[in-house]
Symmetry: C2
């Protein structure tokens, strides 16, 4: 990676939002290993267009996406393309963790707002309402499927310290990104996520 782009850090159990211009590259880095980052992308100027797990998985005929794979919108346009990936195992099936997740799955009486709440708060200044948050592309999340029974298991991420995934924007976007807040997704501890934005290639 070129050295000039500055690296930003997302604190454990938090999230952020920022713009990404067409051609720019977003690299999501797991600095310590075994930490998930939930990624959302909305089309800037028409926020009703957003990444779609249903269309992306349908067109890929695969639940595991990696280098070369496009991430489609609900209108079947490519919003992002994965151009580098040192891990190869990410999830696009499960919703961002939320207060409801912690209440329903973990039984927490006073649940954290989770990635959903962090994304909603970070995206609010861009005009994205909470109801518009779809299934996120869960970078480094390791969800396995038993082909026979259909059972889903959330396993420890395969990412090690320094592993990263790079996405290239195919149009001007608003991005939401978190350091995931669910214990099970991150092998029992909450760590930061880092990201960098590199300019479009000329």
């Amino acid at each position: 990676m070129p050295p000039e782009a500055s690296v930003h850090e997302i604190a454990p159990r938090s999230g952020t939002a920022f713009t990404l211009d067409k051609g720019e590259r977003l690299t999501v880095i797991d600095p310590q290993g075994e930490q998930v980052a939930d990624l959302l992308a909305f089309v800037r100027g028409d926020l009703d267009e957003v990444i779609s797990s249903g269309r992306t998985l349908d067109y890929a005929s695969r639940i595991y996406l990696t280098t070369g794979d496009p991430i489609y919108s609900n209108r079947s346009n490519v919003l992002l393309r994965i151009v580098a990936d040192t891990v190869g195992r990410h999830d696009f099936l499960l919703t961002p963790c939320s207060a409801d997740t912690f209440r329903i799955i973990y039984g927490d009486a006073h649940p954290h707002r989770g990635c959903f709440g962090n994304l909603a708060a970070a995206l609010a200044p861009y005009g994205v309402a909470p109801d518009r948050i779809p299934v996120a592309f869960n970078v480094f999340m390791n969800v396995t499927v038993d082909g026979g029974t259909g059972e889903l298991k959330v396993e420890p991420p395969l990412s090690q310290a320094g592993d990263h995934v790079t996405f290239e924007a195919e149009c001007d976007l608003v991005i939401g990104l978190t350091a995931c807040s669910a214990l099970q997704s991150n092998n029992g501890s909450f760590k930061p996520i880092r990201y960098r934005i590199d300019p479009a290639r000329t």
Copy 2:
């Protein structure tokens, strides 16, 4: 099933929408076998609340849903519950087929509008915009996942003539329902779907 409720038929490659009151039961019937029906449910009075594959699969920890399983909304409320199911294999991963599906996957030059277009047209009078159509619960659709590679395959439905699934509404809903328009999902031919609505139990 009690005999008094009338049975409605959805013609091949078409769709419809209707209201379903809390407690009422919707039975989706495959009259000839091997025919998929895409099902959507929106909360009446607040259409921004809609069924969510990401939340439902997360809370179920399973991709295959059947009798007893709830279908959650994007706000983690239960909208429908499956109360009877003679097949046990349905899909909640893939988006409704659309003109884009037929263009991208089938290479059609003049594509059919698909379940997406049929749902959008049927739901428009209820105030549902096309961008609000999420991943549908694809009744009788048989999508397998290879747990190792993550490959998705659309296999012939396991449903035979007369097979059916019954959903109970947990709140007042707007329902969208189709006879699916994709060749691969329906083992190569387009057939009708039937449905009936039975009153709430007193």
